[in-house]
Symmetry: D2
Subunit: 375 residues, 4 copies
């Protein structure tokens, strides 16, 4: 994540010129002074510290970017808020809704700008879907279906990183990836009224990880040595009732062989449908029911200069964007929020609401019943 | 359906030679003698009757093929069984599990061969998926996801055919199309232990239909004239717990704009995955986890001579099959069952079990709780 | 081919009702009386003969369907024409343009209806492409690109069927499959003015075939036993200049591993583009340049009731057609031609022109120069 | 291009750590001091100049990156070489082979490292294709087919940028984009022996451009005002004979509606096939003939940690790369070449050879004959 976030700050003015604000990579913190010094060199920061509190104390810092394991989000974010700094925090916002609420309350009290890094909604094709829905192009939404399928932990020999430990991560596929799809649900359809879900852990223990860095699919598989217990979910499956009457479903797994970053949605409306798959992120598929009967079909629209954020990206559709650009766009919108003092979306309120949905999903999985979100 | 079934009897020996048995199209029944006479001419039957009982009474008839609205299935099937005739019946087997049970009991008592026309499982790609799973190519199944999305009734002006009337159809998308996906679930994964579901009717009334024939997507849309009430579901969404511990989900709708016959499944196992979409029915996508790490990917396998039923189909993959071939293959297996006196699958027992699952889905939608299938 | 053609006659009234004419499968000829008798039983013919001349002599026969190796086309077709019978002949019409011209002259002189079985242009998606082009939906055509890629003979151990022998087949991939793509070129774009081509034989000899039947991809591979010489092309590659100024290219091979019946075209016009791949034959991809800039993209249109021949096919798009339906449609149009006495297209004149193009391609490959078709 | 190149220098260490060398963005030149100053700020350069000669004179500069219209390549490159600087130059290397030869001779004489920016061959999927071919995974190559289809100039109202002026660009689609596909041909298959081609200009004149910046698909279309003559090709179509006996074809256009950056190749070998489309650049499709007959199919392999350059990219396949990453990888290999003093590929020799192929294509289009490349 250090890579993705640093790239965003460096590349923002190259892509969007003039930028809303010119980010300066002032100081980077890491687990040790040595690690931080190396990171500073690698990621182009002016200085480095081995202790995140030093960043908070630094009066010259305007914005704090939190890209650490989930259990550390609250303390850093609350300290940063109290120090009057604007904050972007990686997702999920926190391990629990109580933590997330405390974070939300802290930023609200401090009056700082806050953002949670559900970067995928800033994929131009997703932003275009939002634009089409807002314009009414597909009418009233009836149904939403999302998946986030990965396979990097399908092998039982992939190591027990912090992502498999409740004490650090809070939950498994639910918090790690399903939250991105929940962000899509709220962004594209609206507030969720109730959920009915199943959580499942397929692989009960995994080899202890060598070294502290989480390598995801790049991690070496090994079957020897000690193992540790997985106490989070591998898979989440939920049905959704939206406040506006739409229904839907959502599935996330990190154990679905052959799927890599298969973050998809399909929305059916009274006047059309929209379909998206991040694995082919330059494309948005749009069906408009009022096209002539013999010329109706999903249009495969390649994002380009005519689409959201197109003025800052590449001058020909399908030159194409990767993961990096989703963070560059996120950075752009964060800078704009800081300058305009208008709260961006998704922010800590959104992060809190998603934490509550995650808890409702967990509760529903235990009870076998619908759990309402209420207020 | 008359077309599809008649094609199957005529084409069986052309495709599979020698055929297990040589079907003779002896007599066709329709709602009137005139309609039946025309049908006989069109579909190549030797004779016709305006009253289905005459078929039952005909001693020269070995096999009865029931392709009528759901409410007529029980009486015809039970009469045919009592007359000692083998039976193939269109899906769903009946409107209710009670009806289905009576039909199952009748055929069991009569000792005749019986089959329910879930033809899609005979798509060669689906049969190949079954073969791979049986061989253990993808290990133990963890997860199953199916959809059956159509859009022919998404327009509120599409007419109120019998498929929207509970008294005739029993249910809506649930019985009409979700049952095909449920058949996949049981065929590929195993018995269903419990369901947790939502049924939804989007369009509460539709224009009364002109004429008796159900034209599906070919029906004329019209907004004038009297309307009638839709008392079945437009959409079904269910989570599934299988007896073997796998979990899954299934969604079916006839209102999903842009989807035509989008009958899909994806199965994740401990050693690989399989994916299928009937809209591209010649293809099966298979991911084998033990392929070398740099050469792993879903294989898009075109069905041909090397695959199930390949000896009877076309001599080059991707010459391709249509809906008709799924019925020709079904007919082949029915003839084989009649000759070998070995019960084919799916049969009325399967039809009954799916009827029970449908009722559990309906019950769950009402109660908001998991409903176990039990025994 | 016996299967495909017989299916067409049996299924025509089932699909298109009422049919233009009701075909009667009167007599089938094969290489021996035994083979013919079995074929009659299999394919539902009233009678059989071991000698094709007996068919010609039969006064009760109106239409002769020629589905034999290429070298026998001229003698049968000319005899049938002289006997006043309407004729449909498999493609390519003949081994040489001289033979094709003689056949064309014979049918013209006899005043009978004649058709050459380039069935793929009757795929509804291809007919829809033609309709769109004729309506001007994509403007004036600038460019045409076609491929016909198969892999059934890529293995050097696939046997030396008649398709690899010039004396029987006339040419290799050129006559066998490239002619279908040339038919597309003339159908969709217009007359070809000149070609510039390369022919190539990759595999110089193959195992002699056991038995007389050509099994294509279903043929057993074997490396033992005697081999025979391949004296036809495995691959053809040609550039095309059309009379209307458009340019294009066309490639055909039976040795392209992984491609099965990859018959594709893409047409670029001044107002849009159209793309087709027979391997996904239910779909036509259409790009309309005057769609709004942010909503432009290839529309993936599934053929159904709203498209050419849709009234006779299946009532929901993507129930889908296979190879058989292309022949059923061909049969429908042949019957209509016989009844209306209007010459269908493509007919023997088209078959002759394509034979001339094939010779120009062969000549160009030898000379390395453009060869004009002239008159 | 300033954006893409600057991004590469900034991002290199973020992606590949430690980098072969740590690039410093010392000075940027532009058409004026003002433009250069703004570019320096935007792209993170330490200083700027309004005159490229000042860069050449700067002793502290090790590497010169030439990203200007084609007509300026020779003078800058030759001056840089004479000043002993390493050089990366945008493609095509020059307008003519004579210019390209002079550039090649200059760098050879100076003994500097040189590279030509055919970045697309550094797409990981393309590098993986090369690896598979080198390892013999698909056997001996028989056939190569490439396309590079764009549509940004299909509209006759898109402005007359320098890319449509022979004096500046040298040629049209040929030099601009076909050269990338020619680079693929030489990279994946081998040296080209001869070509036989057609060049075509569809749109003879275009509106004069407002302002100097080339905006490609982002350029405003306008039909008013003065027009200027297009004296380059819009489309190129060529057949290819390779020195190793393989044959192939290549097509490039900037007028193919619906195609954006449709840079594709398909290679058929004696043991398999490989297919690639840059519009879906994370994927490589590979068919291995020795897979079991019932499990053969194109494998859709998503590039990730297991593939070329995977150690420096994202830790999960399908997080995905965009255009930027192709330049970051290019920059990595350039830095490595500078450090190791081993000439990278493609270099000015490659650029020169491609310039010669372009001239052979042009000559062939005029003569209608095969043109051999010879030595």
């Amino acid at each position: 994540m250090g890579k993705a976030h640093s790239l965003a700050y460096a590349a923002l003015p190259m892509y969007f010129w003039p930028p809303p604000a010119m980010p300066v990579r002032r100081v980077i913190a890491d687990v040790s002074e040595e690690a931080a010094a190396e990171a500073a060199q690698r990621f182009g920061f002016e200085s480095s510290v081995g202790d995140w509190q030093r960043v908070i104390e630094d009066k010259s810092i305007d914005v704090v970017d939190i890209a650490v394991p989930n259990d550390m989000h609250p303390q850093i974010a609350i300290a940063a808020a109290e120090a009057g700094k604007h904050i972007i925090c990686e997702k999920p916002l926190a391990r629990t809704s109580a933590e997330a609420r405390a974070m939300r309350d802290a930023v609200a009290k401090a009056g700082v700008i806050h953002m949670v890094a559900f970067n995928y909604r800033r994929t131009p094709a997703v932003a275009m879907a939002k634009k089409l829905i807002t314009e009414g192009a597909i009418g009233q939404i009836r149904n939403f279906r999302a998946t986030y399928l990965q396979d990097w932990s399908a092998d039982p020999n992939s190591p027990l990183s912090w992502r498999f430990q409740r004490a650090v991560a809070g939950s498994g596929a639910l918090g790690d990836i399903a939250t991105h799809a929940l962000d899509f649900a709220r962004y594209l359809v609206g507030e969720i009224a109730a959920v009915n879900a199943v959580l499942k852990t397929y692989i009960a223990e995994r080899p202890l990880q060598q070294g502290g860095v989480d390598l995801l699919a790049a991690a070496a598989k090994h079957s020897d040595g000690a193992k540790g217990t997985v106490d989070v979910d591998d898979e989440v499956l939920t049905m959704i009732r939206f406040e506006n009457g739409a229904i839907g479903s959502l599935e996330a797994t990190r154990n679905g062989y052959g799927r890599n970053n298969f973050l998809t949605f399909e929305v059916h409306g009274t006047e059309g449908s929209i379909s998206f798959n991040y694995e082919r992120r330059d494309e948005l598929e749009v069906f408009l029911a009022n096209d002539p009967p013999d010329r109706r079909g999903f249009r495969k629209i390649y994002m380009g200069p005519a689409h959201p954020y197109g003025d800052g990206l590449w001058p020909i559709p399908a030159l194409g964007i990767g993961y990096g650009e989703t963070k560059i766009i996120e950075c752009r919108d964060l800078m704009e929020a800081v300058v305009t003092e208008l709260l961006p979306s998704p922010n800590f309120e959104d992060g809190y609401r998603i934490a509550r949905i995650c808890e409702a999903i967990t509760e529903s999985s235990a009870s076998g019943q619908w759990v309402a979100l209420g207020d």
